[in-house]
Point group: C2
Chain length 186, copies 2
């Protein structure tokens, strides 16, 4: 599989922009909100989504999903974070995280390319903490409450896009995926 031949299936334009910026190519794109299965296992969610996207489009596809694992909550909400975000917002996520003793969190992204014959995964992980309340105006989703390690205590939303894209869990995932796809092509 070649990256340039894949169609990135997502309804989230923020993710499309980030992935294109990280990879330095204009990804082909199809806006489609695929049903996702309930699970705390990101790989299970992504595998199911990739197969559904491939069946739906009948062409090699690229999907990704994101997980925010709150240490104080035993990893919850994980891949279910979008529903927490849509109900309580970033401020609510911060409030929940700080109701427990441990504000640490892991932001995870898993990209997956599938063409029917095979699946290639690209994992990306960033450790950090949840801010006590939202800060910053950039980015999207829960960027305003996630403080990645080693970035001076700023949230993703306080970092210029290029700086966030240089360290983000999504960057790591897409670079890992590219590396594996290029390794195959050799």
């Amino acid at each position: 599989m070649r990256l340039a031949s894949l169609v990135f299936v997502t309804s989230n334009l923020g993710k499309l922009e980030e992935a294109s910026a990280v990879l330095g190519i204009r990804l082909r794109h199809h806006a489609l909100d695929l049903p996702e299965i309930q699970s705390l296992d990101l790989e299970e969610v992504v595998r199911h989504k990739a197969r559904a996207a491939f069946e739906r489009l009948g062409a090699p596809v690229l999907v990704e999903d994101t997980s925010l694992e709150l240490a104080g909550l035993g990893g919850f909400p994980g891949p279910l974070v979008r529903w927490m975000l849509s109900t309580v917002g970033p401020a609510g996520i911060a409030r929940v995280a700080h109701a427990f003793a441990d504000p640490r969190a892991v932001a995870r992204c898993l990209a997956c390319a599938v063409d029917g014959a095979e699946e290639v995964f690209g994992p990306g992980e960033v450790r950090g903490v949840i801010a006590p309340s939202p800060r910053g105006t950039r980015g999207f989703g829960w960027d305003s409450v996630f403080v990645p390690e080693g970035c001076g205590g700023r949230t993703y939303a306080e970092m210029p896009p290029a700086e966030k894209n240089a360290v983000s869990h999504r960057r790591k995932a897409f670079l890992a995926l590219r590396e594996r796809l290029e390794g195959q092509a050799r």
Copy 2:
């Protein structure tokens, strides 16, 4: 469709016992953990699950799913409550609910019978509040933190099973389903 001809598809024996007790019949049962789709809309989750169960077994099936909607969190976690329970437990649910100003909650159950030709839904709803911490040893799931309205401030887990089954969201759902199925049969 007749209730006695349906196979109750669930991997949760607590739910099987409750449903059988409420309906006063020994339901046929098939233990199967079906993938559920991510959504805050209980009907969407249950419809998808019912169709998957019917496809899998090739026979008329009965499924149900449960939702715990925390008022302070805009209805979160709703049908995703099982994942919150599996990570933070009932005590964690109580802690999260009380990190917000409003401890009210709605416990919802939606039963669904499907035979390929049609779907019949039975909704059940109970209003209440989330206790500050777990109380009681009966029941299962989040019974120890849900205090239904009009039951003297006790949690489900502090009530004898017969008493819980006389007021529960699951009872209401299964009785509503039976009524609709019997209405059809007339």
